[in-house]
Symmetry: C2
Subunit: 915 residues, 2 copies
């Protein structure tokens, strides 16, 4: 790999480039896009010349004790010479010095997570030449003090192995304070008030301090600066921030970063210079308008740092903050026109909304960077729809332009975008649960519950949450925690409920005892209002108005969903137990019910008694009598559900949980029950004890119940078929599918099939109707997947119960996994929580086996998935690849599933590792 | 199938036969052997001519509402005509009538489980002719009364749908009583005292009673008798006795029975006639001596019925009972010589010990039946060894001649065979646990425990047992239950312990309240001695001496084991946690340890405290301190075990169960612990509660513990490697294999591998030795089997934990399966308890997958099985077929495993269905 003929360095500039946009894996996103902008025949944009050191060098660097390939030095030297030729300057030349920046660039953008050093090449030797050349001493020393500050922080302090604490003892903070002191001393307000002489003095003081603190002089050799900068960028790939960002975003460690070295151009060379950031469309709402900000006489970092308020580039970009500032269009109309033209060409070239950085150096426009721009959910949907209409993209591509979580934003209450824009977050955390929420701060779960009972809207703030907090989390509008990551308890619970949640918000210091938290010196007390944007992770003080989604009126949303529907193969069903849920799901586009859990129906206060009588019956007649009491309820349940889903298939699962789940735990309830059954408490307790199981997950449940008590199955299917028969007589078209759970052997499904079929025949005869129905099974026991060929001899459809299948394939109990799952994710034993996203290699292999074997026996057997994975995009992709017929998810996830199904069909490639 | 050209009837006799021995599936064992004896060119024995109706007719009969194929009648008529020709008699001819018997015969012998009717063809019309022909009126009426008794019972009562109770109300018992009354009236003692006139009168009375009770006359038409008999045999295939026998023996219902119709020959035609049963070798000890009994002037049923004491056929066959009776050799020397010659030819032909039935009619010898003879364990082993030596069979066949349960007889205390022979059982039950035991009867588990503490030997007698009885079962010499089958609680527990046990002994009526049971009118009280033969299911009154096995001195046993060892490919290891167990297992032939469970080592009173301190430690230093206390214990444990297994591999499994299993349940123990840890009871309870899991089987255990607490793994492997290093220094050759349990992903085993390897390196360096060891994993999680290719990238060996693999593949909890397993076996949802015998289709498929994938990555990877299936012959066969390297079982099962492994290699075909 270190052969001297291997290419490690890719140059760009002067209308040419060694690389192109397709080489992101090698050059990083930034390097590839610079090469594209500089070198593509349709673009050839004014990009400052430079070169990119490949990600392979990064891999080499980590594999070889932070050494470089032998051939690298010569290739860098050659690339520098190329820049020198194009710019007619020389790196380190006292008379005509070339300055460069050194930046990181990974395959995927990791904004702010790695290091950058600007102005490399400035030194005692080159400063005089540059002053002469620019005629601007102040500019030169300002650049020099920036170089010292960055370099001391990013290169020298890191190289010394110092990890500065947050207490301001780091070199960067020290230098910042020195500059503030000088400004104070001189009575200046802004950095721009500093004169050349001030800056010159400051640079001298900086260098003294650097040598004193870091025990090394600031390097005066441009070559040393360059290689120091390159090393710092590679080292920052494994910096603490970058590593934790990668973990959250699922970016593999082995990708590595590229390093781009580029000619410095200066937006801070006076009134004819400027720097800016712009988007080819509005990233906040998706409108097809050029949108951006700029600063006269500034470097790029000033725009980001927020010290000066940037001005709008055009009228469209005006806001409350900047409406009085002059636009670029007004100040530099010619350059604005050039920039406008470039951004149109770029968007046409990339066929996507771009985020571009530009600098104007003495009335000359340079393009520094371009990349696909980040956008919020509504904007993403709008752009996808608009670009499709404009003919810029095809529908296949349109569905890939919106991520499932962006679509999710449209389904939750969101902060009013305009209002949010005017505010600065008081803290940022990890976006663990989508949507927005406002409420009064409370610090305990009990308070949350009590306040909520009084009709107050509250936000529960905890250092971290535990299962004991669940009642409070449920009562709260949102949850905010100081600790924990995307898989912490709070995050898992909130996502399950679709509740707004921010976790790991380290900036807030919670004093639960005194019921308050502090953040950046500000104190927020119990009862104070705060607002969370759970989609972004932003915490705001006060109450911000929320916008409720109205997807029925949202034409753009509906158009986008239609595009998705046209692009997918998978059908989308919903999990619904009640007619109300079914109605909601139909509105969201559900094409049937994939799972109706009948056990929920037994918990009504009027029904649970009969259920308990049935469970505790001493003999068959007593059990039948209790079942007969339940029959009318069940029939009404099914009638409502089948009617709500008229014309669509409805899968009804027979009784699943072990019977002890229906028995009372509390003594008063038990006494009541004993009285009703006419037995002593002692005897009741004995019988309850008898039903107790050590591992109820693996116990007497599902079809095991139906086999030992066929009368239970008979009652349930009698209710189903009677409901279907009555509706059929009312001319309602019904398509019930009876599903037998927990099947592991052909003999089990055969036993239940016979019971069900006999009852179906009996009911059809009794009502004189012919019903259109199927009898099938869950595939949730590993053995069912393995013997699916045999099971399909009986079962007329399969539905994967991936929750239980995951439990048994891994030997994990979902209820108990909390004991080690965080540790497993932390130590990368598991890449993801397998109850969130289907484990491809284990569970997925079993599923593939089941489908292949099932279809071998019964070609075209209907196959779907119920269970919570049915709403997870990665899992939906797997289901698509496995050739399933449908996925089924909760009503509110149906649009997400429609999108994910379309994306799966459009061939989105998502990385996934085996473990 | 009812095509008229299909052959349903196979004739034999006159030196010819349509069938042969190879046609057992079609003709049943009896029919096939009769054909062989009658027709094979090397035999052509004097077999009374007859014919066999095939098992296909039985299948047809059950599939077609008890109708026969249309072609059957004509084929039977033709076969009868063939007999008539050979015998020169005519069926139903008044002058020269042919009499026939009708007998059952399934593919495998089901002795006494189906019906037989003799003397068919006798009627008012044919009696006078036969009397004239034989000149023996008494004989003819004796035959007639037998026919009426049998026919009324077997054909007519059954056809009337009457299932007689055990109270003597059945027709057979009524007729028996009538005969007894007549004998009493006349002052006769034996049946043979009855004169012709008495019998004639009795026949008339019998027919009256039959008509009165069964509302139908006894049929006088020989054809009606014949078809009645055939129908009764087919019907008896689904009789209660036959069905329950099949269930126990695992004989499929669909096999069906054949029916053999054969010329009657009479051993009861006076002093020149006789009937007998003999074995070509002694079935009691295996000696190569002709052994048998006979009765002069009797029919076969008289020998079996035990009314008269049969005489020995020769000197060798003499016993206490019959030593004064004359032998056949003495009484009929010529015929004895003929018989002796025939049995030698038969044994040479069949190359196995045969059970033969013969009849001598007026000095003429007829062979009625021959089949492979049943034998006890010691006899089976001796015959296998002897026949190999004699060159009669090859070693491959020798190993198939002893069933695992026969071999098991040699490993348990057995009743003294001679003593047992002299006694009649007072009751019979199902043989649930092998061996013999004597003891005083007790009726509660507590009594069993208390009496045993006083040094008394007791047998626990219960209607059925439950987990609450386990302490009493453990204290008792044996267990006897009135209810329950081979998979009842008592049976499962007893087999697990290798304890003598009889279950389902319905004849005993237990009155636990008054501490006594009655059987057949006899009362057995608490403290009375009884003796059980758990291998046969016999209960005896009183104490019978036991013979303790001494396998080290038993040369025949050792020779047989050597034959097995030469014939097997699988290695046999043992599961042993203590050096004592290892020593026993080596004696039994173990070739290594397949499973040492380290958790058992933590329960010693001196260790459990440190273990609990470790579990409840608040932080790492506290946990490390507690672990340091455990280290020396563990090291000594491993040193002992490795030394006992010098030169052989020893697999040591790291900590497996969830930690809460080590915590105390009782309040006093908890208080002690709280004191020791210096924390409050409240706090202790909170922490114990925190460790509680809803499904501990799927909880935080195995490598999941080692991953969250690497220090536990470190302590255990430090102990293992230090023990190995010290022994190595002592010149003891040790081969430790460290096994990581509950692995489901490659990342898990990799994590633990690294911890183990680092510790191994450290210890080897510290001791300056090089250790020969491996690091591998259990395959007990379905996902591990599925991803075995990846896991084998790290694991150096696989050991199947089929208990857990079965639990998770089926989704069964072994602790809870009692709730539905009996029902599942009863309803044939499962063919067998999958925790007894590995489920081929599900678990077996996963195992095959794991081995194939594991070897793809790491060719030659060592693969074995620990877990209790390792001692089950059917499971061992599967392991052999899957190409494993070894099985591991409990020390006392090692010889069984050696045999089973040899049988698997010898290609024994056992039926198994998919389900």
């Amino acid at each position: 790999m270190s052969g001297s003929n291997k290419k490690y360095v890719y140059s760009f500039g002067g209308g040419k480039a060694d690389g192109n946009e397709g080489m992101k894996n090698l050059l990083g996103g930034k390097g590839a896009n610079l090469a594209e902008m500089a070198g593509h025949s349709r673009l050839r944009l004014p990009v400052p010349p430079g070169f990119t050191i490949t990600t392979e060098v990064c891999a080499y660097y980590y594999a070889n004790k932070k050494k470089y390939p032998a051939a690298l030095k010569a290739q860098v030297d050659k690339a520098i010479a190329n820049i020198e030729k194009l710019m007619d300057k020389k790196f380190g030349d006292p008379n005509n010095p070339l300055l460069v920046s050194v930046r990181s660039g990974a395959r995927r953008s990791m904004p702010g997570m790695m290091e950058t050093v600007l102005n490399i090449g400035l030194s005692e030797r080159t400063i005089p030449g540059l002053v002469k050349l620019t005629g601007n001493e102040r500019f030169v020393y300002d650049a020099y003090r920036r170089l010292i500050m960055m370099y001391a922080d990013v290169v020298m302090e890191k190289a010394a192995g110092i990890e500065p604490a947050d207490d301001g003892s780091g070199i960067r903070k020290q230098l910042d304070r020195m500059m503030d002191e000088l400004k104070k001393e001189k009575g200046y307000k802004a950095d721009t008030d500093l004169k050349a002489a001030d800056l010159k003095e400051l640079c001298a003081l900086f260098k003294e301090r650097v040598r004193a603190v870091l025990k090394k002089p600031f390097p005066d050799d441009p070559q040393e600066q360059l290689w120091g900068g390159i090393g710092a960028v590679f080292a920052s790939w494994n910096g603490r921030r970058a590593k934790s960002y990668r973990k959250i975003e699922g970016i593999p460690d082995e990708w590595g970063t590229a390093v781009t070295v580029q000619t410095m151009v200066f937006g801070n060379m006076g009134g004819s210079s400027a720097t800016g950031v712009a988007f080819t469309r509005d990233p906040g709402n998706g409108e097809n308008k050029f949108y951006g900000e700029y600063l006269i006489d500034a470097q790029g970092e000033d725009v980001v740092a927020g010290i000066r308020t940037p001005a709008p580039i055009n009228k469209y970009s005006k806001s409350e903050h900047n409406k009085d500032l002059k636009t670029l269009e007004e100040v530099m109309p010619k350059i604005y026109k050039e920039l406008y033209g470039i951004q149109r060409r770029l968007e046409g070239h990339y066929r996507d909304m771009l985020d571009i950085e530009f600098t104007i150096e003495k009335n000359r426009l340079f393009m520094l960077q371009c990349r696909v721009g980040k956008r919020n959910g509504p904007a993403a949907v709008r752009m996808a729809v608009d670009m499709t209409k404009e003919g810029l993209i095809k529908t296949q591509e349109a569905v890939l332009r919106v991520t499932p979580s962006q679509l999710d934003e449209l389904l939750h209450p969101m902060l009013d975008a305009k209002a949010e824009k005017e505010l600065k977050p008081i803290a940022k955390g990890l976006p663990a649960g989508p949507g927005g929420a406002s409420g009064m701060v409370v610090f305990t779960a009990d308070d949350a519950q009590n306040w909520a009972k009084e009709g107050k809207r509250v936000i529960l703030v905890r250092e971290e949450t535990s299962p004991e907090d669940v009642h409070g989390m449920h009562s709260a509008q949102a949850v905010l925690t100081g600790k924990g990551g995307m898989t912490s308890h709070a995050a898992l619970v909130a996502r399950g409920w679709g509740k707004c949640c921010i976790v790991g918000c380290g900036a807030i210091h919670i004093d639960a005892k005194n019921k308050r938290f502090t953040v950046d010196g500000r104190t927020v007390k119990e009862g104070d209002w705060i607002t969370l944007n759970g989609t972004k992770g932003n915490v705001y003080s006060g109450e911000i108005p929320l916008v409720e989604p109205d997807i029925e009126k949202d034409v753009t949303f509906r158009t986008f969903m239609k595009i998705c529907d046209g692009a997918r193969r998978l059908k989308i069903r919903t999990n619904a137990d009640r007619p109300e849920d079914a109605v909601v799901a139909r509105k969201f586009g559900a094409e049937g019910i994939g799972l109706c859990r009948t056990e929920h129906m037994f918990f009504g206060p009027d029904r649970i008694k009969s259920m308990r009588k049935m469970i505790l019956a001493e003999d068959l007649p007593a059990r039948r009598a209790a079942l007969a009491e339940l029959l009318p309820y069940q029939r009404d349940d099914f009638k409502g559900l089948l009617k709500a889903m008229e014309g669509l298939p409805v899968i009804i699962r027979l009784l699943d949980p072990p019977l002890h789940e229906f028995l009372p735990q509390e003594d008063d309830k038990k006494e009541e029950l004993a009285k009703e059954l006419g037995i002593s408490m002692e005897r009741l307790n004995v019988r309850i004890q008898k039903l107790h199981e050590l591992n109820p997950m693996l116990g007497h449940r599902g079809c095991r119940l139906g086999i030992t008590y066929p009368e239970i199955t008979e009652m349930q299917v009698e209710a189903i078929f009677e409901a279907a028969a009555r509706l059929t007589k009312e001319k309602v078209k019904v398509l019930p599918e009876v599903m037998v759970p927990v099947v592991g052997t052909k003999a089990e499904i055969k036993n239940q099939y016979d019971v069900i079929k006999a009852k179906a025949d009996e009911v059809q005869k009794r009502y004189g109707v012919k019903l259109n129905f199927m009898i099938g099974t869950m595939i949730e026991i590993p053995r069912a997947a393995i013997t699916a060929d045999r099971i399909a001899e009986v079962a007329e459809f399969f539905s994967f119960g991936t929750n239980d299948l995951t439990q048994m394939t891994f030997g994990f109990s979902r209820d108990d996994i909390g004991g080690f799952l965080p540790d497993y994710l932390e130590k990368k034993i598991l890449p993801k929580d397998p109850f969130q996203t289907i484990d491809r290699d284990g569970v997925g292999t079993l599923m593939a086996m089941a489908i292949e074997r099932g279809r071998r026996t019964r070609p075209g057997i209907e196959v779907g998935i119920c269970g919570e994975h049915g709403g997870d995009p990665d899992s939906i992709k797997l289901c698509h690849e496995l050739g399933m017929d449908y996925v089924s998810c909760s009503p509110y996830r149906v649009p997400i599933a429609r999108l994910a199904a379309a994306q799966a069909n459009a061939g989105r490639q998502r990385g996934h590792g085996r473990n």
